[in-house]
């Protein structure tokens, strides 16, 4: 029987990044994926003849693209001039067009507030500095507080230096704004309701928080970093990014098995010993990396009996609470006025967004939802917030029509022809995200991106350095520090930690 240096659970983008790094370093790596296609949520999937991207953006960290030589496997970042606009759809057929070119964006903002238009370039500069800082943080292993080892202390000092290099004023400002609500933060910059709401929507994207919740400024910076700005940037279609990662990992010698669900991680004397697959097959390895979310990894695959009660309790307490539904619409053609490869947001006012969130607090579907819509030639994909995983009343299967109608009606206000051009649709409720994509509680990011679950507290305090209480078991997915969203950072960091130890 073949032996492996490391088994990686999950062929999401993070699992694939880890696999490629480890294989490139000469390790024998096996990736096991429960679905029949690789990519996790970074996939382009067919429904009734239409091809839909599950996620809007498929950005990877520039150093990952470089180090894994992904250009050779077909990935090339697009030139800045091709980055699409981020368009806010407003009542009465009005729109705010935030082009990636700051001069053009300022033109559009001017109609709403000349003062805001003048501040726009400074705002972009600030966001640039803030995202740079976050990028360094995501490239730094977080210490196990309160004990900081010498090497951890060194990289932390480097991080502090990065922060310092942003300039003293900016440094204090970045630290100051991180815990703020998106509303408070944006009110310091702008006066136009339309502009504030459009930008604030990125601060609540993917989380079960409202624009008036603490820490949504952090989520704004986090999403801004992963997207590369407001609009979603494309390295290609989601599936193309995954294809390149698979090709790279395999070229470096990693093996991948699809339709191979891991049902448990074998543990002997507190040491990882391999995995057991659904059909009973056992595969041995002293090192196992899991890109399944931390709750699933520990409570299902490892099992609470192997872990200390406090650790189990902390794991149970990780906040998952997804509240996103995804609706793909296959069209005869895009409705009039809608452009392909563009990001639209329905976020007309701050109160509108906060009220949409109110529903989620009470386990209800937003009557007036916040939507983010991405388009291709004949498919539009609607990211719908809020659709809470735990409904106060009823089951998700009975709510499909309600949700679909709400989404389509909300968007059709701006594109009256939409209704008539729909050929097919595909809805993914939070329950579907859980069953099909193994996202516990439908949480996109394997754990909410919030202040008490970030940096050295992701996934739980003391365990953000990819290690786990089980020797030889590591976390490499979105649920650990540097993760959440598409970037590959946590997969890369995990591989670095693991290659030092095996």
């Amino acid at each position: 029987m073949k032996t492996y240096d490391a088994i990686i659970i999950g062929a999401g983008h993070n699992g694939l990044v880890s696999a490629a790094y480890l294989a490139k370093a000469g390790k024998q790596v096996l990736v096991l994926e429960s679905r029949a296609i690789p990519g996790g949520t970074l996939v382009t999937e067919e429904f009734d003849g239409f091809m839909a991207d599950m996620v809007q953006s498929g950005n990877l960290c520039p150093d990952i693209i470089r180090n894994l030589k992904l250009a050779r496997f077909g990935l090339k970042p697009k030139p800045v001039s091709e980055i699409p606009a981020f368009i806010s759809l407003l009542p009465d057929s009005d729109i705010l067009v935030l082009e990636s070119d700051p001069v053009k964006a300022a033109e559009s903002i001017k109609r709403f507030s000349p003062k805001d238009a003048a501040r726009w370039p400074d705002f972009l500069t600030f966001m640039e500095k803030a995202t740079k800082f976050l990028e360094s943080a995501y490239d730094t292993l977080m210490p196990r507080l309160p004990k900081v080892s010498l090497s951890e202390g060194y990289s932390l000092a480097e991080l502090a230096l990065d922060l310092r290099l942003a300039g003293r004023k900016n440094m204090l400002n970045i630290i100051r704004v991180i815990p703020m609500t998106a509303v408070e933060f944006l009110e310091e910059w702008f006066e136009s309701e339309q502009l504030k709401a459009a930008v604030a929507s990125v601060g609540i994207h993917g989380v079960t928080l409202g624009v008036m919740s603490a820490g949504t400024t952090f989520n704004l910076i986090h999403n801004w970093l992963n997207r590369g700005g407001l609009a979603h940037q494309y390295l290609g279609r989601a599936g193309q990014v995954t294809d390149a990662l698979v090709a790279a990992a395999e070229a470096y010698g990693a093996e991948m098995r699809l339709s191979a669900e891991v049902t448990s991680i074998k543990i002997e004397d507190n040491q990882a010993a391999g995995v057991v697959l659904k059909d009973g097959e056992e595969i041995s390895a002293q090192t196992v990396l899991s890109s399944a979310d931390p709750k699933r990894t520990f409570l299902t695959l490892v099992g609470p009996m192997e872990l200390s009660p406090t650790f189990v309790w902390h794991t149970q307490s990780i906040k998952m609470r997804g509240s996103v539904a995804k609706l793909h619409l296959g069209l005869k053609s895009l409705p009039d006025g809608m452009a392909a490869d563009t990001t639209y947001t329905i976020a007309p006012a701050l109160n509108y967004l906060e009220r949409a969130y109110d529903a989620a607090k009470y386990g209800q579907i937003s009557e007036k939802p916040y939507l983010e819509v991405t388009t291709s030639e004949n498919v539009i994909s609607i990211h719908f917030q809020y659709a809470p995983y735990k409904l106060k009343q009823g089951a998700w299967n009975d709510k499909r029509d309600t949700l679909e109608k709400l989404a389509v009606d909300t968007l059709a206000v701006h594109f009256p022809e939409l209704q008539s051009s729909i050929v097919k649709s595909k809805l993914l409720t939070p329950a579907d995200l859980e069953t099909t994509y193994s996202l516990t509680e439908g949480d996109l990011n394997h754990g909410q991106i919030m202040l008490d679950q970030f940096m050295f507290m992701r996934p739980i305090p003391g365990w953000s350095n990819h290690k786990t209480p089980i020797d030889g078991l590591y976390l490499c997915g979105s649920g650990v520090h540097a993760g959440g969203g598409i970037s590959g950072a946590s997969g890369r960091n995990a591989a670095k930690v693991v290659s030092k130890e095996i």
Binding site: L299, G303, M305, P309, V312, Q316
Partner: protein
């Protein structure tokens, strides 16, 4: 207003308790003693039969196919070896291998266990039961408990129970009936003597009490409070939570915590059982590296004690009850440990103590000195380290 609870026997004990020296035990009122002096109660334990209300013990019923999995995870002993009808004494630890609590665990049937504890344990048990198929029910209030201790205790039970108790071996239990009332009897106790604990539905408490008192008349039965029991348990080398060790749940600092090895419970730590249990890694380490503390017996040397008192013109003055106080223990001028409970032993005619001693001073036979107060002055009396228990009658386990 906070009100201490009455045990199911309160209607009887309230009338019997002459000194009204009620003690608090886990939120309940219990009699310190029934008479003005402890003598007769102490001697009932050692010579006849003592009836002690131990209802305040926390009690939990754990039922289900995974009950053994939970208990194996929580306690340090190997539960797979516990047979139906058997009782284990065991401690349980936190993740650092420090004692949280201790109690008895009885296997009532294939999948049902009863655990007693001193402190509320429902949260800890529940926290450890994630993903397990079982039910944990607290039965502290609904189950009354009596401890019948002393060499005549089996005779008392034989007189009033449907089935003789002679067949119950040490740390085993049986179901029995008394005047038509179903009871469970375990051969356990906290005195180091022959003795039984009787587990009764709270609603049947009073008739069982009355029947035992009646049946015990010819055997010298006496209601006994917890103060006399405290003396007996020191003789038996049995420690008590909060006076002899601090639950790691309540410790403010690490130095206040104790491991089972340090308390002399190494024999209850089954590192040979398979799989994880709480505290295992730390306990394995401590077993490998050895412990720095150990709970031992200390016997004060009478001549030395007498000399200290003689200096001020007094005969030795020792309280005739257990003292739950911390007393420094020295080797030369250096403090190397402390006594947590000391008592006059009427049976051994010795001043004895449970002492926590640092390595290497815990070896039996080591000569040390223990603090005594002589006419308001702190003095040190010579004392010798001995193994526990101080007293173990041959009929305890027979």
């Amino acid at each position: 207003m906070i009100q201490l609870l009455h045990t199911p026997f309160h209607e009887r004990t309230e009338l019997l308790c002459q000194p009204k020296n009620w003690r608090r035990w886990a939120g309940y009122l219990v009699a310190g003693s029934y008479e003005m002096s402890l003598d007769r109660e102490y001697w009932a334990i050692r010579n006849t039969a003592a009836l002690i209300d131990v209802s305040p013990l926390m009690k939990y019923l754990i039922t289900g196919v995974d009950a053994a999995l939970l208990l194996n995870r929580v306690v340090t002993r190997d539960i797979d070896k516990l047979q139906v009808g058997q009782v284990y004494y065991t401690g349980w630890c936190d993740e650092d291998g420090k004692m949280i609590d201790d109690g008895t665990l009885s296997r009532l049937d294939e999948t049902t266990y009863r655990l007693t504890s001193a402190e509320p344990s429902l949260r800890w048990l529940t926290m450890n039961a994630v993903g397990l198929e079982l039910e944990i029910t607290e039965i502290t209030d609904s189950m009354a408990a009596l401890s019948l201790q002393g060499p005549n205790s089996s005779s008392v039970l034989n007189r009033c129970c449907d089935n003789p108790v002679d067949e119950i071996k040490y740390f085993r239990l049986m179901h029995n009936e008394l005047d038509g009332i179903p009871i469970s009897i375990s051969r356990t106790g906290y005195t180091g003597d022959l003795g039984y604990e009787i587990w009764i539905d709270a609603k049947d408490a009073l008739p069982v009490w009355d029947a035992l008192i009646a049946a015990g008349h010819d055997f010298g039965i006496l209601p006994v409070g917890i103060l006399a029991m405290d003396m007996a348990r020191v003789e038996a080398g049995l420690f008590m939570i909060e006076s002899d060790y601090t639950s790691s749940d309540h410790a403010w600092i690490k130095a206040q915590q104790s491991s089972p090895f340090e308390l002399g419970l190494g024999w209850t730590v089954n590192l040979d059982k398979p799989g994880y249990f709480v505290g295992r890694p730390a306990l394995a380490r401590e077993q490998r590296e050895g412990s720095t503390w150990k709970l031992m017996g200390l016997e004060v040397e009478w001549d030395g004690l007498e000399a200290l008192f003689k200096d001020v013109g007094l005969p030795p003055q020792i309280l005739s009850m257990a003292i739950r106080a911390s007393l420094p223990v020295r080797s030369g001028k250096k403090q190397i440990g402390y006594v947590s409970t000391a008592t006059w032993s009427p049976l051994l005619k010795k001043y004895i103590a449970l002492a926590h001693l640092q390595k290497p001073y815990f070896e039996p036979g080591t000569n040390l000195r223990m603090e005594v107060t002589v006419q308001h002055h702190r003095q040190y009396a010579p004392a010798r380290v001995v193994t526990l228990p101080f007293y173990e009658p041959e009929w305890k386990k027979r």
